[in-house]
């Protein structure tokens, strides 16, 4: 259990640092390949790095949009499951409905975290975020609609009066046949 958590928690066990700008070869274990001059590479012009950064930002925003659209697939899946579950109240339909409610809520709680990796001052995350939230809200709405169609939402008068005790009577009467 602990191992798993460690993996999930820190995220990585190993990594290749592509943007290593260290100049001193002594700090590396591996010597540079023949013909490769670090100094010339290091003195690359700013246009290349800019281009690289642009492509990265592009990639990030693309990824962010992909993430934002992910709930849509989920939505379709959920809709299908709900249709399968039918409209009577039993274990499966309740389970599916509650998962349909829980997923969007937990997703909405973690909006920031989901878009964390794509955070960049050059990337505009507002659009994907809004789309993500909107899709999840649609999912939530779907769940609520399902809940209602199962009759589990107190939207009818019957839900509010079914436990009302009978009204008190002011008068009292007794009697009957003469006792024999």
């Amino acid at each position: 259990m602990d191992k798993g958590k460690a993996i999930m928690g820190s995220g990585r066990r190993w990594a290749v640092e592509f943007t290593d700008n260290s100049a001193s070869p002594s700090s590396r274990d591996i010597p540079d390949p023949p013909g490769f001059t670090r100094s010339s590479h290091d003195q690359d012009d700013s246009s290349v790095s800019k281009q690289k950064k642009d492509s990265e930002a592009n990639w990030k925003s693309q990824k962010a949009w992909e993430v934002a659209q992910a709930p849509f697939k989920n939505l379709m899946m959920m809709g299908f499951m709900m249709w399968m579950a039918g409209s009577t109240v039993h274990l499966f339909s309740i389970g599916i409905t509650f998962s349909a409610l829980w997923q969007p809520i937990s997703a909405l709680q973690g909006v920031g975290k989901v878009f964390e990796p794509y955070k960049d001052n050059k990337v505009d995350l507002l659009g994907p975020k809004l789309a993500y939230i909107a899709l999840n809200l649609v999912g939530l709405g779907l769940g609520v609609w399902k809940l209602n169609s199962l009759g589990l939402l107190p939207t009818h008068a019957s839900d509010w009066v079914s436990s009302l005790p009978p009204a008190q009577e002011v008068e009292y009467s007794g009697g009957g046949f003469p006792l024999f």
Partner: protein, 987 residues
């Protein structure tokens, strides 16, 4: 994948559906777990002993509950028993030929022969006749016509000779047309002549001689006695009788020998010096002697051969005398019972030798049994060839005792066969201080029991274990404890019997916790002919007066009429002690328990007397203050079946009597409904039970719609029939018969609903609960019984449908309502065929009224059938929609199903069923059912199954073991995984 899920869902759904399907039946091994059944016979009026053979000694009895039974003389158990119909009174009982029990019943209309060993009916003869007369059964010894032994039965004014083999009527002789009122049939041994003796008018004594072979009238004689006869007569020998004259002051001896009748008269004052007043001949069958009651004494008079009266003995008038019994050497013995304090004295004397006695025994007698009322004597031969005697004694409380050698050999509480009224009481709370020893003991027992149960569950039990498990379940000490239990299953059922005795029965096993013969309901100087009326809960402490015991109010009346003075007593429900008894006072026509209690939790009651004065009880200033505060809202109604009037009344200021009484109130008539006497006659009424709990006022119907029930405690169901249809079924044609039912509000007299069933007829049995009425009647057109349901809804609340208002509580649905607001109501109704006729109908009641209801139907076969109320739902249609199906509406059928498994009484019968009482347990799902008639039956019912508790046979041991095993497994796997991890790390 999805398909698989769908199928799985469907399977799961079906599984749940099968769980929720209502099955009320129980398994064979569940019988006796929560039900008990007791068999009684009622107050014995005839008893014939059968002790000659060496086999099982028995006594055959007939009772006032029309039961014929054969009892084991050793233990008092019932060998066999037959309950005749409620109007088939047993008049005579005898044993013929040593193997048949012969009964004459219904005023001499039915002669039946039963097999003595097993009680099977051998034959039955209907003896027709229209004139009412006394019925006499005579079984002559050795009187044969052909090969048949004759049985003589006199009933309905005719004499019948019946063959003892097959019950065929050999000949009939109409004697009523001759004007004779037959008192006795005499057959002299060896002759072929039967003598019918009796009175013609009030002044002639007649003898008729009839040929036993063919019923031919051979000769008749009559003699006139100028003083006239009063009707009392006793036959001393086969040729002598003693009668009383019309002034009841002289004895008349009648001798009829050789066709001549001679009469002689002796004034009683000549026999007894101090004998002013009237005399009566006691109806004992004594031979050679007559018992005459004069004032405070019973005198025994013998007739000498010269025709002289001789007084041989004199005893106190409270003594009880047996019929005479022939013992050895042609001697006649009779038994006398005299009463003392807490004891009875049994004396057996020979008729020929009155000064001595054969035995004189004193036995201790529980004073709660009252005085002896009847005694039946039987003898047996002791080892030294002398005669021993045993006596069967019927006591004042209708119990039956066998006394032998001064000891009570056995006793039967047969008063319980005639229960008048039932109520219940809680048991005392459990005391906190329970000694450790009992806890340890019970813990061990508990564990043992559960281990046994576990064995049973795991199918490891051998037959002995299974028997032990069953015994443990049936005789669980838990269920017969004398304290309140958490589920409210243990209660006291308090029953009032016709004898005026109060019994408290434990619901666990039916044992009698206490019994008390109420002094106020016993015969005394002030109360000559007491009869019991009803009982009510007087004090039910639960909030304020917890340290007091609950108590019961018992009402009685001194006399048979409505205007006879009343009496009441208050009895402690835990101990049976009579706390208070008052009376005789004003008459009691009606008792109205009010919905108010005083600070001691005593319920206020109004007793209405015949002048329609309302008397308030308890008579305390506090009660008076409460009553005066509430008097404006207290009403009462009276049903006058004879006049066909329903009246409503209210109390006004104090009544005007000679003695001012501030607890007495006059009443004024508010309204009356007069049913036209030429077209309607009231035959039945029904109201809701006072303490019925209703959970909700709304009924949610399909697609979330709401209907508001009309729930009123003041709803009266009343049924009337056409006057010509008031008789038996079949006495009228459908065209001239109708049944009208009304729902009446008893505050305002408003008729809420009226409905006519043309071609229908009573008897009507009805039950009212919540907002519905179910009633049962006979449909003459369809030749079948029908049951109808009426549901009544409040239309004026129907527009309370705004959710927002309801959420915010801005509605007046729970505010108090008055009957004068004239609520608009709608009714729905439906009728169904039902194949049984009914003896009683009732409905289940639960603590909060949430659980669905069942109708409890006492069928003509003396069983109790539970029928779901869902079958009697006026919203049933032939093809219910999907939404209605989901709501639980059953497709409409023309008749109500009788599911054999839903008989509450399973294989048992509650003979002579009269009433079904239901009491809620504390557990909401469960209701306690008590059915009474000649037998008693008690069980627990869960109309929607026990959804709020685990079943009785739930294995706690198995649960415990599973939990322990799981915990152990967790630890073991944890240790193993730790170890493995360590090894991995070392690698």
């Amino acid at each position: 994948m999805a398909m698989a899920i769908r199928i799985r869902v469907l399977l799961l759904f079906l599984f749940f559906l099968s769980l929720s399907h209502p099955t009320f039946s129980l398994y064979q091994d569940q019988v006796g777990l929560m039900d008990w059944h007791q068999q009684y016979i009622g107050k014995v009026k005839h008893a014939v002993f059968h002790t000659q053979k060496a086999g099982r000694k028995r006594v055959v009895v007939s009772t006032e509950e029309n039961v014929i039974a054969s009892l084991d003389l050793r233990r008092g158990e019932i060998f066999w028993r037959h309950v005749l119909g409620s109007n088939d009174t047993v008049n005579e009982l005898d044993i013929a030929l040593g193997k048949y029990v012969i009964t004459l019943s219904s005023g001499g209309k039915y002669l039946r022969a039963w097999n003595l060993p097993d009680g099977q009916m051998i034959w039955e003869s209907f003896l027709p006749g229209s004139t009412a007369s006394r019925s006499i059964l005579s079984i002559p010894t050795n009187l044969k016509v052909g090969k048949d032994d004759l049985i003589l039965a006199y009933g309905s004014g005719s004499l019948y000779a019946v063959s003892s083999i097959d019950g065929e009527v050999l000949w009939t002789k109409d004697l009523a047309s001759e004007g004779i009122d037959v008192q006795q049939l005499i057959h002299r041994h060896g002759s072929n002549i039967i003598y019918a003796l009796g009175f013609i008018g009030s002044s002639h004594f007649a003898t008729f001689e009839i040929n036993a072979k063919n019923g031919e009238l051979l000769k008749h004689d009559k003699v006139r006695f100028t003083g006239g006869f009063c009707g009392d007569i006793s036959f001393l020998k086969s040729d002598t009788a003693v009668a009383l004259d019309s002034t009841r002051s002289s004895l008349v001896s009648v001798r009829f020998r050789d066709g001549e009748i001679s009469i002689e008269q002796v004034h009683i004052s000549d026999l007894l010096l101090d004998s002013s007043g009237v005399a009566a001949i006691l109806p004992y069958k004594l031979i050679e002697m007559v018992a005459v009651k004069v004032k405070e004494f019973i005198i025994f008079v013998k007739l000498t051969n010269e025709g002289k009266f001789v007084v041989v003995g004199q005893i106190d008038h409270t003594a009880i005398i047996s019929d005479s019994l022939s013992i050895l050497e042609d001697q006649q013995a009779i038994a006398l019972i005299q009463h003392g304090d807490n004891k009875i004295q049994l004396t057996v004397k020979l008729v020929s030798d009155w000064s001595n006695h054969l035995i004189k025994e004193t036995s201790y007698m529980d004073c709660q049994r009252g005085l002896a009322q009847r005694i039946f004597l039987n003898n047996y031969v002791r080892t030294d060839r002398s005669s021993g005697f045993r006596a069967l004694i019927v006591m004042e409380d209708h119990s039956l005792l066998l006394v032998q050698q001064g000891e009570i050999v056995w006793s039967r509480e047969d008063g319980l066969a005639s229960i008048v009224e039932v109520t219940t009481s809680e048991l005392p709370l459990e005391k906190d201080s329970v000694s450790v020893a009992t806890v340890e003991h019970s813990l061990l027992e508990w564990l043992k029991g559960h281990v046994l149960k576990l064995k049973g569950t795991l199918m490891l039990a051998n037959p002995d274990d299974i028997a032990a498990i069953q015994k443990l379940r049936v005789q669980s000490s838990e269920k017969s404890k004398m304290t309140r239990d958490h589920n409210g299953f243990r209660k006291l059922i308090i029953v009032l019997t016709r004898a005026g005795k109060l019994f408290a029965l434990h619901t666990g096993d039916g044992q009698i916790v206490w019994s008390v013969l109420l002094n106020s309901l016993r015969k005394s100087q002030t109360c000559e002919a007491p009869n019991v009326l009803t009982l009510h809960q007087w004090q039910v402490p639960h909030h304020h007066a917890l340290d007091e015991n609950p108590s019961i109010l018992v009402l009685g009346r001194c006399g048979p009429n409505l205007d006879s003075p009343g009496v009441y007593s208050i009895v402690d429900a835990y101990t049976g002690k009579e706390l208070n008894s008052v009376g005789p006072f004003h008459s009691i026509v009606q008792i109205i328990p009010l919905p108010h209690t005083d600070s001691r939790e005593q319920r206020l009651h109004l007793l209405i007397d015949k002048d329609w004065h309302a008397h308030l009880y308890p008579r305390s200033p506090e009660a008076l203050a409460i009553f005066q505060r509430e008097v404006g809202n207290i009403y009462w109604y009276s049903v006058e079946a004879d006049n066909g009037i329903l009246r409503g009344h209210a109390a006004k200021e104090n009544c005007i009597l000679q003695l001012p009484d501030e607890y007495c109130f006059g009443t004024r008539n508010l309204w009356s409904i007069v049913f036209p006497s030429e077209s309607e006659r009231i035959i039945a009424t029904a109201t809701r039970k006072l303490n019925e709990a209703v959970h909700t006022q709304a009924k949610v119907v399909a697609d979330q719609d709401v209907m508001y029930k009309y729930i009123s405690k003041n709803l009266l169901f009343i049924a009337t029939v056409a006057p010509q249809a008031a008789g038996d079924i079949g006495s009228v044609t459908p065209d001239e018969s109708w049944l009208v039912v009304y729902l009446v509000d008893t505050i305002t007299g408003r008729i809420l609903h009226r409905m006519t069933h043309y071609g229908s007829q009573g008897p009507v049995h009805a039950v009212v609960s919540e907002n519905w009425v179910v009633y049962h009647y006979f449909n003459l057109r369809a030749h079948r019984y029908e049951m109808s349901v009426i549901e009544i809804y409040d239309q004026s609340r129907a527009d309370n449908k705004d959710v927002l208002k309801l959420v915010l509580g801005k509605h007046n649905l729970t505010s108090a309502i008055s009957a004068y607001t004239r609520t608009e109501v709608v009714t729905k109704q439906q009728s169904y065929f039902f194949s049984h006729s009914l003896k009683a109908i009732s409905t289940t009641s639960t603590a909060k009224g949430i659980t669905s209801k069942q109708l409890l139907i006492g069928t003509v076969g003396d069983q109790v059938l539970a029928l779901d109320k869902r079958f009697l739902d006026p919203r049933r249609t032939l093809n219910p929609t999907q939404a209605e199906k989901e709501e639980g509406i059953i497709p409409l059928t023309d008749s109500l199903p009788i599911i054999p498994q839903s008989y509450v009484t399973h294989a048992l019968k509650v003979e002579g069923l009269r009433g079904i009482v239901t009491v809620p347990a504390k557990l909401e799902s469960t209701t306690l059912v008590f059915a009474h008639g000649v037998d008693l039956f008690f069980t627990r019912l869960a109309p929607s199954k026990t959804y709020d508790s685990l079943t009785e046979d739930f294995s706690y041991a198995l649960l415990l073991i599973t939990i322990v095993a799981l915990v152990v497994a967790i630890f073991v796997t944890w240790i193993l995984s730790e170890r493995k991890e360590l090894q991995e790390k070392w690698r």
